[in-house]
């Protein structure tokens, strides 16, 4: 699964993307966040305030309760500030 990070989420984790083999027990976006947090303090720092982190599956906005199903691309980022 390809996971992308943007803006300060990217800076805190220290990379813009990675390919990870996610265990079968990870069903939803929230599960994925919890699993990522177990990978190290940089992930814990990035997801410290989970409610502020936006997520997208295959480039579509989703909430954290959304099942991953067979998503190929997941992204995590702060609230958007364009315009």
């Amino acid at each position: 699964m390809k996971i992308l990070y943007f803006a300060w989420v990217r800076e805190k984790i220290g990379k813009s993307q990675e390919d990870l083999d996610v265990p079968n027990s990870v069903n939803t976006v929230a599960d994925l966040i919890t699993w990522l947090e177990s990978k190290g303090p940089e992930y814990q720092a990035a997801f410290e305030n989970k409610e502020t982190i936006n997520s997208a599956i295959n480039q579509t906005h989703v909430d954290h309760q959304t099942p991953l199903n067979n998503a190929s691309e997941i992204a995590f980022f702060p609230p958007v500030t364009g315009g």
Binding site: L4, W8, A56, Q59, P78, V80, T81, G82, G83
Partner: protein, 163 residues
């Protein structure tokens, strides 16, 4: 429907003329209203709730692929709601300075109300849905990511009520 993400500046007149030409090439002379919105970089950034600080530059990051998809969805929605005869959205990325253009929205319609409302709608949706992030460099100190504003989210509810 034109959607572009680019580092270079845009020329508003050129973009208006391109939309008008597209319409006249279809044998139509029915454009009666053209609205443009341009967003530019301010020289002051919000420091905290009460104060502002001067900035020297701003950088804009985006999510390639998703940005284009979101902007195209927003444009399609605007075309469903109003009788538009052309739309353009151009958003710049990369490093920008105070006074520089950031975003351009153009809407064409036969009458002004549709063009005004659609441009307003496009900007409200762009600001809360399109995956762009601004980072400001103050004159002194470290660069910081701009916080999203609640007022931008609230702006969306105006359009939801109309459904």
């Amino acid at each position: 429907m034109t959607i572009r993400i680019q580092t270079e500046d845009f020329d508003i007149t050129k973009e208006i003329n391109a939309l008008k030409e597209d319409r006249s090439k279809q044998g139509k002379q029915d454009v009666g209203a053209i609205v443009t919105f341009t967003g530019t970089v301010r020289d002051m950034a919000k420091k905290d709730k009460a104060s502002k600080t001067p900035i020297s530059s701003m950088s804009l990051e985006h999510y390639p692929g998703m940005t284009e998809k979101e902007l195209s969805d927003i444009s399609e929605e605007a075309n469903k709601r109003w009788p538009l005869l052309g739309t353009t959205i151009i958003h710049r990325i990369g490093d920008l300075s105070p006074g520089d253009n950031i975003v351009l929205v153009i809407t064409l319609s036969s009458h002004r109300h549709a063009a005004f409302e659609a441009a307003d709608f496009l900007m409200d949706f762009l600001k809360s849905k399109a995956p762009f992030w601004k980072k400001e460099q103050p004159l002194e100190g470290d660069a910081n990511w701009v916080d999203a504003r609640d007022s931008d989210k609230q702006a969306l509810s105006r359009w939801e009520k109309q459904n």
